[in-house]
């Protein structure tokens, strides 16, 4: 049973309220540092920052619609070996879900970590955020919060495609959840304990206990069901657009094999990807042989091979954060493609990435009797 505590919002300034809450967390002695998105002093760009001095939290901004990297990889970097210190990680729900997958893959741990998550308001692509926040980054965050929480219609909704179809706006795994949906956010918001670890931290802060804001559950449920119907429509359209190798080739035809999608992907965790090893460092005669054999080959080669292999590698663990699309220099809608495939394979194995640390990734275990449908040469489909 989770407990709710009140955080008062003064002068409708939600950002200051969250900053001072984070300051109280860091000053409480319960943690030694906080990883939180913040405006960099030189140009106000938002990046994850590791803060040990509570004073520096005055430019933290976890509300900004900026999502330059999926910080699950940073969380993994911070927890690969014991540091002897406690770190609070302020992450989006998709970052926590990706981090949970990385923990299963032995790329990190929850020891000495406090997971803190805000209800996710979504984000813009890097390009859109840069244009949106150019003149007044703090004002931009404010306008964005009003736009989402008050459902104000602006001329153009810049929300990134991945966020539009995300059915996880509220983290199920965080130790501490800062609630924003279904609250009187201009006056007060509620912070909620997710685990006993979070309870331990929040109890020490002498905050006022309140009951769960009445509207919250309904608002969140409605949001999720709207997102799911958009998501399913996206799956349908993407499946149609990629239903053959010719169509898939057309979908990916702008790909230049830069592998940025793989670098940006939080769950693509191999230290050395096979696609940048000698395996794919073919000799010139090899290319010429292929060209002679087929009459024509596209250079660089192995584009579809790369993407299909990546689907096999991360299909089960894909959390749909959309960083692949964000990183693509040629604006290929990769999130749509990878989420569609991921949805199919996750359904096939009845697996939901990021749900629980204890739940093994399907390819890491097996049962003696299972999946007889893929064995043998009888026809299964009608």
């Amino acid at each position: 049973m989770s407990t709710f505590f009140k955080l008062e919002v003064k002068d409708t300034d939600l950002l200051s309220c969250i900053q001072s809450f984070l300051q109280s967390l860091l000053s409480s002695g319960k943690m030694d540092a906080l990883l939180v998105p913040g405006h960099l002093p030189m140009n106000n760009n938002v990046m994850p920052t590791l803060i040990s001095d509570p004073e520096h939290l005055n430019h933290a901004d976890p509300l900004a619609p900026s999502f330059p990297v999926n910080a699950a990889k940073i969380a993994s970097r911070l927890t690969r070996q014991p540091s002897g210190q406690t770190i609070g990680l302020v992450l989006r729900p998709c970052e926590i879900r990706a981090f949970v997958e990385l923990i299963k893959l032995k790329q990190g741990t929850l020891d000495d970590i406090v997971l803190i998550s805000l209800d996710c308001l979504g984000a813009y692509t890097n390009k859109d955020y840069a244009a949106f926040s150019k003149d007044d980054p703090i004002g931009a965050t404010k306008a964005f919060v009003e736009h989402v929480l008050d459902q104000k219609q602006s001329e153009k909704d810049l929300m990134a495609p991945a966020c539009r179809v995300c059915e996880y706006p509220v983290s199920g795994q965080a130790d501490i959840r800062i609630g924003l949906y279904g609250m009187e956010w201009k006056n007060q918001i509620a912070v909620e304990t997710g685990t006993t670890k979070g309870e331990d931290v929040l109890e020490a802060l002498s905050l006022e206990k309140i009951t769960e804001p009445s509207a919250r559950k309904q608002v969140v449920e409605k949001l999720i069901s709207e997102r799911i119907s958009l998501r399913d429509k996206m799956f349908e359209e993407t499946s149609q657009a990629t239903s053959s190798i010719e169509k898939l080739s057309s979908y990916l035809s702008r790909c230049v094999n830069c592998y940025n999608c793989r670098v940006a992907c939080p769950v693509c965790y191999c230290r050395e990807c096979v696609f940048v090893t000698d395996v794919f460092d073919h000799d010139p005669y090899q290319y010429l042989k292929w060209a002679r054999h087929k009459g024509e080959i596209k250079m660089p080669t192995d584009t579809i091979f790369f993407h299909l292999t990546r689907m096999a590698h991360i299909g089960l663990t894909c959390v749909g954060c959309g960083q692949c699309s964000n990183a693509c220099p040629n604006d290929i809608p990769l999130m749509e493609l990878f989420r569609t495939t991921a949805h199919n394979v996750q359904k096939a194995f009845e697996y939901e990435p990021g749900r629980q640390v204890e739940e093994p990734i399907p390819l890491s275990v097996f049962e003696v009797e299972e999946y007889e449908d893929v064995v043998g040469i009888a026809r299964h489909s009608g």
């Binding site: 990629t242 091979f305 299909l308 096999a312 495939t341 893929v374 040469i377």
Partner: protein, 140 residues
């Protein structure tokens, strides 16, 4: 018109199905030359990449075959292979590869007759499907 002769790539486990192929040979059983057999130490080491690559390079079908459940020389490699094939079949289905193009079977070392029959059936099924799309069109 020339009849279509499919190319099937076989990934056979050294201990069971490859041995069955040997037995089929010494027993003078025949199977179609459409299958190009690659000997693996275990079906558990058949990386999904190998199957994807084969299909993209114009193999009309892939047959992965190893020891029966419980008989794996490495205790559980075939169970792992089964999950990987399940995963890969789900992915390939989305892009229009028919289910008959990727097959997983268990054929023990003494099943020379079954091996010959299986290969015959696989070739027939794939022949009925026609050439794989990657053979006729450009793959980027």
């Amino acid at each position: 018109m020339e009849t279509f002769e499919p190319t099937i790539v076989g990934f056979f486990c050294n201990w069971c199905t490859y041995t069955a192929a040997d037995l089929a040979g010494t027993s003078r059983l025949s199977y179609p030359p459409n299958i190009k057999i690659i000997r693996m130490m275990c079906t558990g080491m058949v990386d999904p990449k190998y199957i994807i690559k084969a299909l993209l390079e114009g193999a009309d079908g892939v047959l992965i075959s190893g020891c029966h459940p419980g008989d794996c020389h490495y205790i559980n490699g075939n169970y792992k292979a089964r999950r990987r094939v399940k995963l890969l079949k789900t992915i390939l289905d989305q892009f229009g590869f028919e289910e008959e193009r990727v097959r997983l079977t268990w054929i023990g070392a003494s099943d020379g007759i079954q091996l010959s029959e299986t290969i015959n059936q696989v070739v027939e099924q794939v022949k009925a499907l026609g050439p794989v799309e990657t053979k006729t069109g450009m793959v980027i």
